[in-house]
């Protein structure tokens, strides 16, 4: 093996530059870290704050091309110091960025929901099937479209760019399910999946957001998506139980409903968040 002296010299010079930059960053940040240490001394750990920090860090690394061990991206290290300093000096901006990501991801889920209900309404067994199911699909599609518009408007209000594309993580879920959409039960199952993801995502977001106006908007939409999910669970149960005639808005229906219909829509006392979409899944890069 031979050593290219010129290349080695360049590497050494680059290394020294990075080292110098690192020292400058450390010196610039140290007083702030000391302040934070004093401020936080003895106050314990904040899980949500750690999540927010990690989210911001991952996004920063991705922006710099350093995610996933991208060696080529390390050429950008010379400028990293300035970016890190700026990031630490303006924590409010970083928090605001997560709020925007959350809204972009929420918008992407709504775009996907609208497209899915629109596709479902084109299926013959929905279009010409149970009237309540069809009306539910039509109304729910419109409600999701209003949610999309609200999230997009809020994104722009916070200074972000509105997300107009469907959620990248869940598009494959919908596309994968499409060939199997042979009856109303399959459609209700897919719709329930999307409604559950939306509900749990917004619930998780409520614990992450800083902007209080966005918190209220998110809670308001979550309160509707959770009702969509509950209705779909009940519809699914009636379809699976071979009682589609009970999917009707008729005063005589209540007396005929099976006992399980009184509990099937809400299996838990607290809404979980295990199916929540990460804020990065619909965020604009």
């Amino acid at each position: 093996m031979t050593i290219d002296d010129r290349a080695m010299a360049e590497v050494l010079e680059a290394s020294q530059d990075i080292h110098s930059e690192g020292i400058k960053v450390a010196q610039a940040v140290l007083p702030q870290l000391e302040e934070i240490r004093e401020d936080r001394r003895g106050k314990g750990i904040n899980l949500a704050e750690i999540h927010r920090y990690n989210q911001g860090r991952r996004n920063l690394l991705r922006t710099l091309g350093l995610g996933g061990g991208n060696v080529a991206g390390k050429a950008a290290l010379g400028g990293l110091g300035g970016l890190v300093t700026a990031l630490i000096a303006t924590p409010a901006h970083a928090d605001e960025a997560l709020d925007i990501q959350i809204l972009q991801t929420a918008s992407s889920l709504e775009v996907l929901a609208v497209a899915t209900y629109e596709a479902a309404l084109g299926l013959p067994f929905i279009k010409g099937g149970n009237k309540v199911v069809k009306a539910f699909a039509e109304t729910t599609m419109k409600q999701h479209d209003e949610h999309r518009a609200a999230f997009q408007a809020q994104t722009e209000k916070l200074g972000g760019t509105k997300q107009t594309a469907p959620n990248a993580k869940f598009v494959p879920v919908v596309e994968g399910a499409k060939p199997g959409l042979k009856d109303a039960l399959a459609v209700a199952s897919l719709a329930e999946t999307l409604e559950t993801v939306a509900t749990q995502t917004y619930l998780e977001n409520i614990g992450q957001l800083d902007d209080t106006e966005t918190v209220t908007l998110m809670g308001s939409v979550m309160g509707v998506e959770t009702q969509h999910a509950a209705t779909l669970r009940a519809v699914k149960a009636l379809l699976m139980g071979g009682a589609p005639e009970l999917i009707a808005l008729d005063a005589s229906v209540a007396a005929k409903l099976p006992a399980a219909a009184g509990a099937v829509a809400f299996p838990l006392a607290f809404e979980p968040t295990e199916n929540a979409a990460d804020p990065s899944t619909g965020a604009l890069k």
Partner: protein
């Protein structure tokens, strides 16, 4: 750590000493100093340097929400129990199986919600809330006295669930501690689900609003 249950929430709060309780000026109630320390992100982000005074102010607000929420949950549990007793005594006529299941399930959920709030309160040294909200209780009692059948009971239950969901939604933005805010939202989601099924039982569209409303939200006396 994924926080999915009230136990997780309580554990997380206790572990990081951010969920402290004590006497901070709210007489007769368990006082939840939820926003103490690093939980007080809103204050930190705004560059506020008010320190302990602000933390206590935030905590008082969160404490009031916790106490009020527990009082609402007591009222819900009592009302469902009253409906169950009336049905068992044959005072509501024939009770459809699905309605019977709904009542027992919803009552259990509200008991768990109450336990969650009280668990958080008592872990910090406060007193568990065992009495229903004093303002709403007589109103609901009067309405309950007029219930003659299952339909009337379902209508009253729907009203309670909508009040509860709206109250939690209304409170979200004001809750400084984010874990507490998430707990409130988690309960809001379940109460909204209850309301959807009650709408269906009453032959009404289960999701009547495009956005969940707060106009029915109850407020502390």
């Amino acid at each position: 750590m994924t926080v999915n249950t009230p136990s997780d929430l309580v554990e997380a709060k206790v572990n990081r000493r951010g969920f402290l309780f004590g006497a901070a000026g709210l007489a007769g109630a368990g006082v939840l100093v939820a926003a103490c320390g690093s939980d007080n992100e809103n204050t930190a982000d705004s560059g506020d340097t008010g320190g302990d005074a602000d933390n206590k102010a935030d905590a008082s607000g969160d404490a009031a929400v916790a106490t009020f929420a527990a009082g609402l949950e007591v009222l819900a549990v009592n009302t469902y129990k009253g409906a169950l007793d009336a049905a068992t005594a044959g005072k509501l006529g024939a009770v459809p199986p699905a309605v019977a299941t709904f009542v027992t399930t919803a009552m259990k959920h509200h008991q768990e919600h109450l336990d969650a709030w009280n668990g958080a309160i008592t872990k910090g040294g406060g007193e568990a809330v065992t009495e229903p909200d004093a303002t709403l209780n007589p109103v609901v009692a009067e309405k309950f006295g007029k219930v003659k059948d299952v339909g009337g009971a379902a209508r009253l239950a729907l009203e309670l669930e909508e009040i509860a969901a709206a109250t939690y939604l209304s409170a979200l933005a004001g809750i400084k501690n984010k874990d507490s805010r998430k707990l409130a939202a988690s309960i809001q989601a379940i109460d909204a689900k209850h309301a959807a099924i009650l709408h269906f039982v009453l032959a009404e569209y289960p999701v009547p609003d495009v956005f969940a409303k707060t106009d029915k939200a109850a407020k502390p006396a």
